[in-house]
Point group: C2
Chain length 253, copies 2
DNA sequence: AAACATAGTGTATTATTGACACAATTGTAA
DNA sequence: TTACAATTGTGTCAATAATACACTATGTTT
């Protein structure tokens, strides 16, 4: 926990460098051992959990701010990021870092301000991430999406909205390049979809549909070492993948 | 155009009441005589065009702010509003009301600030709208979507993004209740879809699909007076409509 | 070598979509 | 009054896509 002096310094620094009343929160999705993971921070003392986030520098594009925040929490650059919603209820930031609320008079205290937060979701390769806590957190770890701790503020709602947005995305855009390692098998990719959607899919139909998108290329190699028949390895055909990202799979009209 | 005194007053008032650095811009879609219309404001003097917009009061939810702005421009309450994107490039507001840029020193001048703008699109019944200019505009009028004047700032990009979001919405949500009068014919509804999508649809297939959604009810009455066979009148079955809005038409997974 | 778990491939059935034809209705022009 | 043009209501057939399922292949385990 910050001392009064540290808090004071943080606040005056923040006021000088960041846009007031605006924050960024990121829902970082990863995929590991068949489970959907979300990156969470645990507050120093208190022990409460919250989403990685930060503020926007006065002359910084908001996308850059989101990337900067994520770089700090994950070590990664060029993360797949999708802005999905702004949460602007005046009540939402009422309990923002409330242990610091009384340490400074409101007019000097960054954390008593109202914040609109811009929600981003990020898709990352679990294995490349080096979770790093921020200044206010004791820990930064992956949590199972279906076994989340209680979250501070409206972060549970933000997470839910992000998940809805991600599920919607599945219907008109490819997904997976950012969540899977370079090479993967069809069953592994299927598992990703099943995890996001939280439902079982038919193996054969999944493969047919997926290949139909034309964004995969099959390697000659097989994934050896598994306990059964060795599956083929696939990777994404990046050109087609990006084209599909941009154009979207055709809608229904 | 505001005098220096008026501007000064406006700015000090704004600084006192609004959240700094945050604005709202609304793309108001209407449908009239087979054409998609967008509500635009024309700047006093200058003559340039821009989207209806405004600012967020310090304790006001952003949705309320958007509704307030639209109430002022259209006279309507309870407008169908959809937040679709935040535009946060630091360069985007560089030419914001630039005729006022030099009238006040930057530190006092609200319009030299950087603004993130939250984009909303609205769907309204053309015939219920009473377009009203704001303090900075000489005029507030409906413009044809496919015959737009040049727009100030990044408003052309905002409009384009709104249209994309609207088109996306067609794929998983019903639309029309907010854009059509109470009663309408199937060809009229089809025209709306064709206009939004900017493509011709097959009459018979459109009807089958539309009825399949189960959100329409057919009146016993016909629309008389047209020059040809009188079509049936339909209206939306509001309960089912709202359920479909909430649940969405099923995706493809 | 047999048992087993998982992967690859294919096929029959059903549902959805797309393309199109025809009859009915209404105002207009001959 | 009648023929005509334009438009609406309805239906059908074929193509396509989605779903459900079966069989074979491969590698591990015993």
């Amino acid at each position: 926990m910050l001392t009064k002096k540290e808090l004071k310094e943080y606040c005056s620094n923040a006021r000088e460098n960041y846009l007031p009343h605006i924050s960024i929160d990121c829902v970082v999705f990863g995929f590991h051992e068949g489970l959907m993971k979300v990156l969470l921070l645990q507050i120093k003392n208190g022990g409460e959990w919250y989403l990685p986030g930060g503020f926007v520098l006065k002359k910084e594009p908001i996308e850059t701010a989101a990337n900067r925040v994520l770089k700090e929490r994950t070590g990664l650059n060029n993360i797949f990021l999708q802005q999905f919603h702004v949460f602007g209820d005046p009540e939402r930031s009422k309990q923002h870092f409330d242990m610091y609320k009384d340490m400074l008079p409101a007019k000097d205290n960054w954390f008593t301000n109202r914040f609109l937060t811009i929600g981003y979701y990020a898709l990352v390769d679990f294995y490349n991430v080096n979770p790093a806590p921020d200044q206010f957190s004791a820990d930064c770890i992956w949590c199972d999406l279906n076994n989340l701790p209680e979250l501070k503020l409206d972060h549970a709602a933000i997470l839910k909205t992000a998940l809805d947005a991600l599920r919607l995305q599945l219907n008109y855009q490819p997904i997976g390049y950012n969540l899977m390692p370079k090479e993967f098998t069809m069953p592994e990719l299927q598992k990703l979809y099943e995890t996001i959607l939280d439902e079982k899919l038919d193996r054969r139909n999944f493969q047919r549909r997926m290949l139909g998108f034309g964004i995969l290329k099959r390697s000659e190699q097989l994934r050896r070492g598994g306990a059964h028949k060795a599956p083929y390895l696939y990777s994404f055909e990046l050109e087609n993948y990006n084209a599909a990202l941009k154009e979207g799979f055709k809608g229904r009209w």
